[in-house]
């Protein structure tokens, strides 16, 4: 069995049928990581020892016929999700040696099923960026072309899945951080509705936008992970009391008569022609499957990036203030408290993180609050309204995930404004608290994957998975060299 070519369902069956043991499966992945990850650099920490122990425990459950969907399944976890006793760095020098004394709720839930942790994956520092090149260590490469970025901020998770170094992974998405790297690496990533998955234990970037979600080889695999981690959590007051359904329940149901909206503004000049063509072709596929395409507009899109960077920057500036080096993290020097934290923060944070902190504090400063932060909140209301208007006449929305394919390392990530504008296709989803899934819909002339996004109504992940799955049944993934 080539473990990189099978779905989670098939892995489950192989484990339950004793075709492979949990230990063998974990070993195979660890072996693959040892061979390929020197080039991809998708992991910051590989947890070989813990994986062995977890696999043994999982095997007992399997042998006792007590297996759940993820028992014995190896997974990679983004390094901003706290794991008890295992270093959690946020790819920052600030937290290089931070070992949390507690598990994130999603980790508790996965442990409850007996999953096997392979390691912690790289990301843009504190999830700020779209290239994974702002990471202080493990600047991940794109498995389709290691001269290119994997996207970000969950670039490590997306690249690991893409290169077959994990069958699936968890990422987090604040403005596109699951979807955009999924698009760049040719895999499927689901950003759930805000409140669907507990944020407890996710090191916060922007609390009103952050959401943990799965990255996998298919929409169905994403659904299996989401089934495991979703639900109301008493440790997160913003987690929703909406009952957790089987997110894969609608898989296989016909999408005949489904209305798919294409907002014009997402197909404008700033989007590459190759991307537009691939997404438009995918829309035609949906038409063939019986869906009805609806032309629509989102006029506030041009302000979305500004609103996003103000809101996320303000929250980030406050969230990251706790990193003062007193109890954990990089400890600077100085003769006074002020000197000490200034030194800790100057040395601990990278340039992009500092830029966001400055931006956020500026937006919240007395005299500027009304001009920036309050306006951004007003825009948020406008964006929500425009989405509601579209959903009055459509079931899902189809857009490109990113205006381009993965770019070359060093090409773009040094120009912050250019980088920020590249988030145009993804940020409104977070601002409006909606669920969205990115899936590959083609490859450009260089063989780089192109991704499209389906955006759903709040708490309607099941329809997104159904719709994505309907397309994936007829789509052939072009494997990269690590999985050939």
């Amino acid at each position: 069995m080539d473990i990189t070519k099978v779905s989670l369902k098939e892995l489950r069956k192989a484990l339950d049928d004793k075709e492979i043991s949990a230990a063998e499966l974990a070993e195979e992945y660890i072996g693959r990581i040892k061979t390929a990850d020197a080039e991809v650099e998708s992991y910051i920490t590989v947890t070989e020892e813990q994986a062995k122990i977890a696999a043994e425990q999982a095997q007992k459950l399997i042998d006792d016929n007590k297996a759940q969907p993820l028992t014995g399944i190896p997974l990679a976890i983004k390094d901003n999700i706290c794991t008890d006793g295992i270093r959690t760095t946020c790819a920052s020098k600030m937290l290089e040696n931070f070992v949390p004394p507690y598990n994130a709720t999603v980790i508790e839930k996965l442990n409850g099923q007996g999953y096997v942790l392979l390691g912690k994956t790289s990301m843009d520092e504190f999830a700020m960026g779209g290239s994974t090149q702002t990471a202080a260590f493990s600047k991940t490469k794109n498995p389709y072309d290691t001269g290119r970025v994997p996207g970000g901020s969950s670039g490590g998770s997306a690249a690991a899945v893409s290169a077959g170094l994990a069958p699936a992974a968890l990422g987090s998405d604040t403005g596109g951080s699951i979807r955009q790297p999924s698009s760049f690496c040719g895999v499927t990533g689901l950003k759930p509705t805000y409140g669907r998955v507990s944020r407890y234990g996710l090191i916060a970037f922007a609390s009103s936008l952050d959401q943990i979600g799965p990255i996998a080889n298919s929409a169905e695999d994403c659904g299996i992970l989401l089934n495991a981690v979703a639900g109301r959590d008493e440790h997160d007051a913003t987690s929703a009391g909406v009952p957790v359904e089987d997110f894969n329940a609608k898989i296989g149901q016909s999408i005949k008569g489904m209305k798919i909206a294409l907002p014009r503004e997402f197909f404008g000049d700033s989007t590459d022609d190759e991307v537009k063509q691939a997404v438009t072709a995918a829309a035609k596929e949906y038409e063939k499957l019986g869906a009805e395409l609806v032309d629509c507009s989102m006029s506030s899109l041009k302000y979305a990036v500004a609103a996003y960077y103000l809101i996320s920057g303000a929250e980030a500036a406050s969230n990251l203030s706790r990193f003062d080096g007193i109890k954990y993290g990089l400890r600077g020097e100085g003769r006074s408290f002020d000197e000490m934290i200034r030194d800790s923060r100057s040395r601990g944070f990278g340039a992009e993180v500092k830029r966001r902190i400055l931006l956020g504090n500026y937006a919240l400063s007395s005299g500027y609050y009304d001009a920036y932060y309050r306006k951004a909140l007003a825009l948020k209301q406008q964006i929500i309204k425009e989405y509601n208007d579209i959903y009055a006449q459509a079931d899902v929305i189809l857009t490109p995930t990113a205006p381009t394919v993965a770019y070359r390392i060093g090409e773009q990530e040094t120009d912050p404004v250019k980088m920020y504008l590249a988030d145009i296709c993804t940020v409104t989803v977070n601002i409006a608290s909606l669920p969205a899934i990115s899936l590959p819909c083609g490859y450009n002339a260089d063989g780089m994957p192109i991704g499209m996004s389906l955006v759903g109504k709040r708490f309607d992940e099941a329809t997104l998975i159904q719709t994505a799955d309907a397309y994936q049944r007829n789509f052939t993934v072009m494997p990269n060299k690590f999985r050939a």
């Binding site: 090191i203 007051a237 913003t238 203030s321 007193i326 408290f337 400063s365």
Partner: protein
């Protein structure tokens, strides 16, 4: 030119919830350093606050007893600043939408009833504590996340007496409401005082200073008096008062600068995205209001009107909640409030004031105290023996009945013994007897005392008096 002080207060009161405001750690005072904290209240990355609904209930009660409007919609904000005792580098507080708005408390000060207006009351979290040792500072996060209410008044105060009367009054009200234990020595209530001076009759206020963190009545009074004196001196010498935040030094009785207006923080308040806003229904608010216990003023009315206790005694009873609660329990055991009240105000309060008995930890049960009063009222023991028995109860922990039995203090009304004793006393004091018979009736008291002492309380004073009068005829 006469200068007139104008004063406004910000009072922080810790709520007496079991657990902290955003996590489940114990909210008790003290404990080994950092023994009462968890990843949430010590601000570890990834943790999230979850609001304690009990704290919300308590602030609503505080609002009602101070006649505030309770906001139907309330939310929390982050107040951002760096300080080593604040592990998240922001305090979760409330800015534009506090739980309580507008209100008032009437106080008695300088012989007048004055209405002091409340601007707002909001709910926030306390910070930790720093301990400075030699050249090291140590942080203790036990206090981090203890729920605090901040009561902000209007500038309606004009003297130290106004301020202390108000502080005492709300301390008592919060205690009665079961909202704050009011233990000043444990820092349960702290007061910031804003003071400015202006010529009497002036329309505008002078430049104000803020004295931070006063935690005793005496400190509040001294700080206000000192600051009025200091500002008066400055103005009269033609100097300027600088807008600044001050620290009051208990040892010297003087204030000193902490920071000036220029160094003031920009707290960059914004809505806390981790805590959803709350919308209260009328039913929820009505249920909380109905749950507020009797306030000191109501008890005072009941004591004076229903029980016929004097205003002075009633005031003594209510002014210490523990004493008033003790009285209530005693009355429940023996339904005769007046003598119980009198014995408390005369005897128990004396022992409390002498420091022999701790009001918060009275060493005998109110039922036993009530029984003691009952024994005296029903003539089973003499009133004079009550004090002795009370002292014995304090020391031995025995009941009044046990002690009366052990010490043989029961009034036996043995007329033979009484007559015999009176005869002996009269025989031993022929001069007094003669004086009495010559019309100097005031020696009767002396003879009464002699008989009483000899009988050791085994006869009631009425019986002794009857026999003595008979024999002296």
């Amino acid at each position: 030119m006469k200068l007139y002080p104008t004063i406004g207060l910000e009072i922080h009161a810790e709520l007496m919830t079991e657990s902290k405001v955003f996590c489940t750690c114990s909210a008790k005072f003290g404990g080994e350093p950092n023994s009462r904290c968890c990843p949430v209240c010590s601000g570890l990355p990834g943790t999230l606050p979850v609001l304690n609904s009990k704290a919300v209930e308590y602030i609503i009660k505080a609002g009602y007893i101070m006649n505030c409007e309770i906001s139907r919609f309330t939310k929390w904000d982050r107040k951002n600043y760096f300080y080593p005792d604040l592990p998240k580098a922001y305090q979760i507080s409330q800015m534009p939408r506090p739980v309580c708005l507008g209100g008032y408390v009437d106080i008695e000060s300088e012989g007048k009833t004055k209405r002091m207006r409340i601007n707002r009351i909001h709910l926030e979290e306390d910070a930790g504590k720093l301990v400075h040792e030699n050249r090291i500072s140590l942080a203790d996060y036990n206090r981090c996340g203890i729920p605090l209410i901040e009561i902000v008044t209007e500038p309606d105060f004009h003297s130290a007496a106004d301020v202390t009367a108000f502080f005492e009054k709300i301390r008592l009200m919060l205690q009665y409401a079961g909202v704050c234990d009011g233990r000043l020595e444990q820092g349960s209530m702290r007061c910031d005082v804003n003071i400015s001076l202006a010529p009497e009759g002036s329309d505008t206020l002078g430049t104000r200073t803020e004295v931070k963190n006063l935690n005793s009545l005496r400190a509040i009074q001294r700080a206000v008096e000192y600051e009025i004196y200091r500002q008066t001196e400055l103005i009269e010498n033609g100097e300027r008062v600088i807008q600044e935040t001050l620290h009051f030094n208990d040892a010297t009785g003087e204030t000193s600068s902490l920071r000036s207006k220029e160094d003031a923080h920009d707290y960059r308040y914004f809505p806390d995205p981790d805590i959803p806003p709350i919308i209260f229904t009328e039913e929820e608010l009505a249920a909380i209001k109905a749950d507020i216990p009797e306030m000191p003023q109501q008890r005072y009315e009941r004591y004076t009107k229903e029980y016929g206790i004097s205003g002075a005694d009633a005031a003594v009873l209510i002014n210490t909640k523990a004493v008033s609660d003790f009285f209530e329990a005693a009355v429940k055991a023996y339904d005769n409030p007046k003598p119980i009240a009198t014995f408390i105000t005369v005897e128990l309060m004396r022992r409390i004031n002498l420091g022999e008995v701790d009001a918060e930890n009275i060493p005998f049960a109110p039922e036993n105290f009530a029984r003691l009063v009952e024994l005296a009222e029903t003539g089973k023991i003499s009133k004079d023996n009550r004090k002795m028995i009370l002292r014995d109860m304090t020391a031995s922990g025995g009941t009044p009945d046990e002690i009366a039995e052990r010490e043989q203090l029961w009034i036996k009304e043995d007329s033979e013994l009484t007559e015999k004793t009176v005869d002996e006393i009269l025989a031993a004091n022929p001069k007094a007897v003669e004086q009495y018979r010559n019309g100097e009736t005031k020696v009767f008291g002396f003879l009464m005392g002699q008989c009483n002492r000899a009988l050791k309380g085994s006869a009631s004073p009425a019986a002794i008096k009857r026999v003595l009068e008979e024999k002296l005829k």
